[in-house]
Symmetry: D2
Subunit: 298 residues, 4 copies
Amino acid sequence: MISKAENPSPNERQYVLTLSCPDDTGIVAKLSTFLAEHGAWIVEAGYFTDDNSSRFFTRQAVRAESVNISFEEFSAAFDELAESFGPGTRWRIWDTARNKKAVILVSKEGHCLHDLLGRVAQNDYPMDVAAVIGNHEDLRDIAEAHGVPFACVPFPKDAVGKRKSFDQVAELVNAHNPDAVVLARFMQILPPDLCEMWEGKALNIHHSFLPSFMGARPYHQAHRRGVKLIGATCHYATQDLDDGPIIEQDVIRISHKDTPADMQRLGRDAEKIVLARGLRFHLEDRVQVYGNRTVIFD
Amino acid sequence: MISKAENPSPNERQYVLTLSCPDDTGIVAKLSTFLAEHGAWIVEAGYFTDDNSSRFFTRQAVRAESVNISFEEFSAAFDELAESFGPGTRWRIWDTARNKKAVILVSKEGHCLHDLLGRVAQNDYPMDVAAVIGNHEDLRDIAEAHGVPFACVPFPKDAVGKRKSFDQVAELVNAHNPDAVVLARFMQILPPDLCEMWEGKALNIHHSFLPSFMGARPYHQAHRRGVKLIGATCHYATQDLDDGPIIEQDVIRISHKDTPADMQRLGRDAEKIVLARGLRFHLEDRVQVYGNRTVIFD
Amino acid sequence: MISKAENPSPNERQYVLTLSCPDDTGIVAKLSTFLAEHGAWIVEAGYFTDDNSSRFFTRQAVRAESVNISFEEFSAAFDELAESFGPGTRWRIWDTARNKKAVILVSKEGHCLHDLLGRVAQNDYPMDVAAVIGNHEDLRDIAEAHGVPFACVPFPKDAVGKRKSFDQVAELVNAHNPDAVVLARFMQILPPDLCEMWEGKALNIHHSFLPSFMGARPYHQAHRRGVKLIGATCHYATQDLDDGPIIEQDVIRISHKDTPADMQRLGRDAEKIVLARGLRFHLEDRVQVYGNRTVIFD
Amino acid sequence: MISKAENPSPNERQYVLTLSCPDDTGIVAKLSTFLAEHGAWIVEAGYFTDDNSSRFFTRQAVRAESVNISFEEFSAAFDELAESFGPGTRWRIWDTARNKKAVILVSKEGHCLHDLLGRVAQNDYPMDVAAVIGNHEDLRDIAEAHGVPFACVPFPKDAVGKRKSFDQVAELVNAHNPDAVVLARFMQILPPDLCEMWEGKALNIHHSFLPSFMGARPYHQAHRRGVKLIGATCHYATQDLDDGPIIEQDVIRISHKDTPADMQRLGRDAEKIVLARGLRFHLEDRVQVYGNRTVIFD
């Protein structure tokens, strides 16, 4: 059995604060004064204002040990400050000493799962994998080899049976109350209620550079169109299929020689990389969604 | 006045043979035996068979000085051989001592024109620019500074006037019998008869990674969709707008910070590069079209 | 004659503040409180602390019209604040209404000059080109076509003559008191005193991905070593040849088929792009140097 | 236990012929006539002549079922033909029905091993992994989970002990007579006699874009130099450390924010990708070495 990461990050403990609110002058001053008052040493800080919506976004990481009160007190004080920014303000604080929890949904194709579990084994992520759930048995062995429980929920073809399977998956997932539900080539379209339930934490990969080649068999579509690049997209799953907020994209060069089968093989590298990067951004609270767009503080 | 390239290629003189025909065993043997019989030293050879259409494609470059007969004799002998491959065979032979001829169509934005003329001044291309035609006067100075004649054909908004302008452009272009008609951000949609007349030699750039964001204002579309990559596509102009055979594509990474205006600025680099590479492939007879796909022997 | 940009940036007027000082808690709070007190609307803000040297770096851009005092008053107030951060603090403030001034040094090869002047003609840069100085006449025409004065200073081979030429170049350059001295493939090694005089404003391009292939003829070195990527580097010129702080780098894929001549042609695209990006970072006060490293707030 | 690929390639059976010899006119004609005479349907063909050494290289893949004699007869006939090309000719023929055999050497870091075994599980490669050999026990579990035997050969620090360990590794490797010895972050420098014994089949990864940052701790070197790109190189191991023929390279963009630890994490993706691609080229007989350079028919 492959030992899991005890301490997934080699870095020092941090408190990560994220906040979005209607833009105004003085927000940064209030925030940084608040941090200074509690001795917080800023390690990383990102700011962005969306001019269309006049919405302000920030992510700040501070050294935990520099803060002169307990995490609970600091967190409560931040709540109080954030509330003063008025209605519509959204904020969060994360103590990196707490690993994020993920459940991974798979089908038969294992490249993304192999990659993610390999990264976890390398301590790349502040993440524990609570469970892998597949609609086939194919990937049980690799999950269990990494010490991760695997559950198989078969998906029948009929609508009623499929719905029951989704309910079973939802129950298994929710039992872990995960920070991330990773659709690692799950191949089943989430019903709207699950998309809503897991809004902003269900990450999907689409194997094209969206919005090109939405829908099924994108590599075959790409071959027919004769494009010179194929790609992959990591996005949040929403009710609008293949139209959720994009977290990360990348492409790979192909040529006339590449068949759809070659593209599938080559594209797997783009899919793995895009999911791995998108998941990191998500786990480290680097992503904030507005409309169907994302701010990424990388 | 900037002197034009006398001898655009520093390389030795070559004969470049391109051929496509129904696939069969023995074609390569016949071709290479033909070349060997005439002493032709092969410098570069590319082969491809499209399995769907069972069509064979090749491009072969041989050292001119190694061929033991004149170019005219060699060309005639190749004609004879190619005809033996049966109906539907298409072939061409190019003596690199003859520069290709191009006419460039522009509007107000100059980045592609600056780039192309800079490359010609550097002897990068086996190409002479016979003329630049613009629907505005903006780029006259730079064309003339490079010693290239500039003609301005204004485009009125009404359909009849526009059609007259197109006829005038066509006349100006055809007077040069060019090998390439380069739509370097021309901003006018070619009417079907001109697309047909210049089939396989009118190169267009679309400022998106097609088929994403077809049609107008692709950077604004890209901004709305929240993509993480923008791109550009060099393709042959056909009657199906933005759907012609793709020659080259590339992308540039963007972030949430980039406005449509930023994308326009950043995207210009992709547009220039993609056009420059696509045009090179075209000029050097490296592109063969089948359906709306291209074989590129790069 | 090609008209120069009247107003090189389509964006609103901004004040750009850059500062570096020994790290401490509370610096961000003081800065942002200062900005808030003067009504300054922050458009862009970057922060970085180098853990090795415990040095803090920031760049902040604010909307000029949001500031409730004049630029001179605001600038004076910022001086006062910055001085309070103690010895070793370095800061600057730039009103984007003032275009930066550049002098470009060239030799015979024009690809970088074509590219830069094309960008200026497109209003891409907050920059006026005060002069182009060449050690040959080759690029006079293109400079003058863009309305930029060109001076030719021939460089003899003997050391004494060369030194005189450098003195003449220095005099011509310094007459403009430029913000940037761009060595756009100048092909002459700056003597130490000029490097020192223009410290932090002389940008050079080296046609390799430094530190690979330092010194002469990098493409020939790359060919001999059989690398699969070639590159280019934009860096500040320093007395340690090819060892100055790196601003930007990029690479291009090559294959066994590419000769040193092919690499030269292909590499020109990397050189242009890397210089164009590096120069933008420099002009927009996005670069801060520490040791032989750079912080880039992009 | 994860089942291994029964049939690693979904493609049809092919015979792959590779040959290099002194260049001459007529070689291609002889080869293609030979293929045509035996009914061989060419699926892929690559040619290259190195002008410096006047050496000719080719790789041809033909459909096995199109050949009108047995593989043994075809192979013998090719031997006969190849011998006629004179002394110094090197050739090989591979029946893709036979999987290549690999032994993988590892240490503690598992990212390359995870990736390779994941690819094998996906049937990506025409390869069986005969064994994984590590100088630590860390990666035993993952190897065995994939059904691959794992042997641990500890490496003591003293020269005599180390030499004994190398002898033991060599014995374990050679027992499988592998086509590829993959140094997947093995962290031990092969002694010259092993380099010679495994010439052209021992693939190493160096975690820099060689020739930059040769030797130890390249990410620390890269951080000190302040480069904006880090990379990885897949090359054949030779006696000249880090100077063997390069098969594949790639880079990843970094910024001033990235510490050597960040680079290690980011660089792992480059290492994995570069090894995966380089190994594919090697397994599919796409690589030919001349001097310290490689021809890659991709």
